[in-house]
Assembly symmetry: C2
Homo-oligomer: 361 residues x 2
Amino acid sequence: MEFASIPEIDTPALVIDLDAHERNLRRVADYFAARPCDLRPHVKTHKCSTIARRQVEMGAIGVTCAKVGEAEAMADGGITSILIANQVTAASKIQRLAALAGRCELMVALDDVNNARAIGQAATQAGTTVGVLVEIDTGMRRCGLAPDPAQAVAFAKAVLPVDGLRFRGLMGYEGHTVMIEDDAERRAKASEAGRQLGACAQAVRDAGIDVQIVSGGGTGTYDISGDSGVFTEIQAGSYVFMDARYHGIQPELETALFMVSTVVSLARGDLVTLDCGMKSLTHEFGQPPVVSPSGLGPVGLSEEHGRCAIEGGTCDLKLGDQVWLLPTHCCTTANLHDRYWCVRDGRLVGTWAIDARGRFD
Amino acid sequence: MEFASIPEIDTPALVIDLDAHERNLRRVADYFAARPCDLRPHVKTHKCSTIARRQVEMGAIGVTCAKVGEAEAMADGGITSILIANQVTAASKIQRLAALAGRCELMVALDDVNNARAIGQAATQAGTTVGVLVEIDTGMRRCGLAPDPAQAVAFAKAVLPVDGLRFRGLMGYEGHTVMIEDDAERRAKASEAGRQLGACAQAVRDAGIDVQIVSGGGTGTYDISGDSGVFTEIQAGSYVFMDARYHGIQPELETALFMVSTVVSLARGDLVTLDCGMKSLTHEFGQPPVVSPSGLGPVGLSEEHGRCAIEGGTCDLKLGDQVWLLPTHCCTTANLHDRYWCVRDGRLVGTWAIDARGRFD
């Protein structure tokens, strides 16, 4: 990847290195093609139906979404199998969920029986069926039932007879483990989360209930959970782009998403001021580093400005030059933008709409 | 303000309490109506031409923008006098700047003579004139010339003869002082920044150059800089909404912007899980507090989830109920959304497009 200035790119811009991106798609697709476990990639990372279609063309069985709006955008973009890996509880969103189930194979996570009944009622009224996965909290401490096999069985039995629902299986996202940098520790903790989920799934099977799906996994654990024998599908999302943080955890996957910014001020001799700030680049996982040119420190962000210290005291940059940075959190950074600028061989070859961002809350 | 659930609001939603918002508009408009200093409010906070027009109708002389895209959106929305309080250096953006100057009274900040010449050349080619303010760095350490009167005079003299430009005055934003909580310290530091800017402006005047505009000021300092005698106009923006942080600094202005979220999980007994996360609410200035109902701790955010501890051990909330939170940074939170939901007397009365967000980078 060259990091030369591309004047056609209107900064601050999110740029995809298509070659690196496609190698990531291929590497993860090949991993799952060789195993009895499927890939249902999470689109929260890219929010882009163009990328989702490419993932499905390369073997993904559908997509995972975080919310109804993302799922609607993916259905609009031609995706036919969608898991909303989250609870949907507002009355207006339950109506949208039931309607969407008429347009694609749709599944949603559950951890409350009354919520299950409300979704079933809306689906019945809409003449649709919503697939459901019982969510198990394997350590994220966010949503989901406690990892108690007896409770999982009781919940599955309560959901099974609800009209408008189709019980499909269980879900448990080991998100508390995906960013652990130490390989052995990440493997141990992800394996323990998988063991808890697997015990719940086995108990439900032992109760005579058909468990077709056990879903979970992230980019930091796709190769741990994918090999565990517990999961039927893995929800990894960030692998398409990676970022400064995830690249340290899974170095076989390449950084493929960059923030391209423009130098707006050199009036202070000790720093370079850029046109990227908190409104175009996130920093909750650390200050984004500069990848080109060399000699600049990581960027400090205010709303619409980024400031990089000039290391070594001198700098060849001119006003209007472009500086390439590596996001530290690809998912929240993509959420700030409406399009990707796609680059191959140092040239702009097109843009892709981030069509699941925004208008769908 | 009541904080009852409003089912028509599709969460996570940014809600404006119109009564409080309008009292803020009136209070600040009245302040400037009584003084020889104007209000040119910064639209980076709301990014909404509807609100900008209301500000102008109540006496603002125009608006301040952070970038070309915001300025284009404001011109599209009928605003006729616009300051881009920032450097514009990319060739494509300089072209847009020159074109925009044909549609409104447009000014831009400068701290580089070559940049001045590039803008002047583009304006001349477009048959327009761009107004310019020399930016002085009064302590933000971001953009702008050092606060040296001789340097300001030399710069103004270099810019004056450039075709396509019209020298209008100076700008210096005392952003490093606006959030200082101690009143006396904030007053002292803002006054010192104003003194530096005033000395530069006086030197330029003493050189026989017409200084029509001295611009700066924020919500935390509008009543300090506005009374200083240095500034001809103040750029305060956050006063329209306020947030948890600014309300502590200027308590006479009311919190008027809320995040309304929905309870999505109560499966864990010790916390409430909401549908607002880092993709709908920012937290760089601290965890947003809950304003209603009582008994919940501040929200901890992951991408699409918020988690609040249940204080005292019990909670009457049900799945689907709405929880109202107070953003800790209104500007970056608004940047995540495409519309405001406007509420008066506990009822939804309309929505306003956040039309300067997004498509204009």
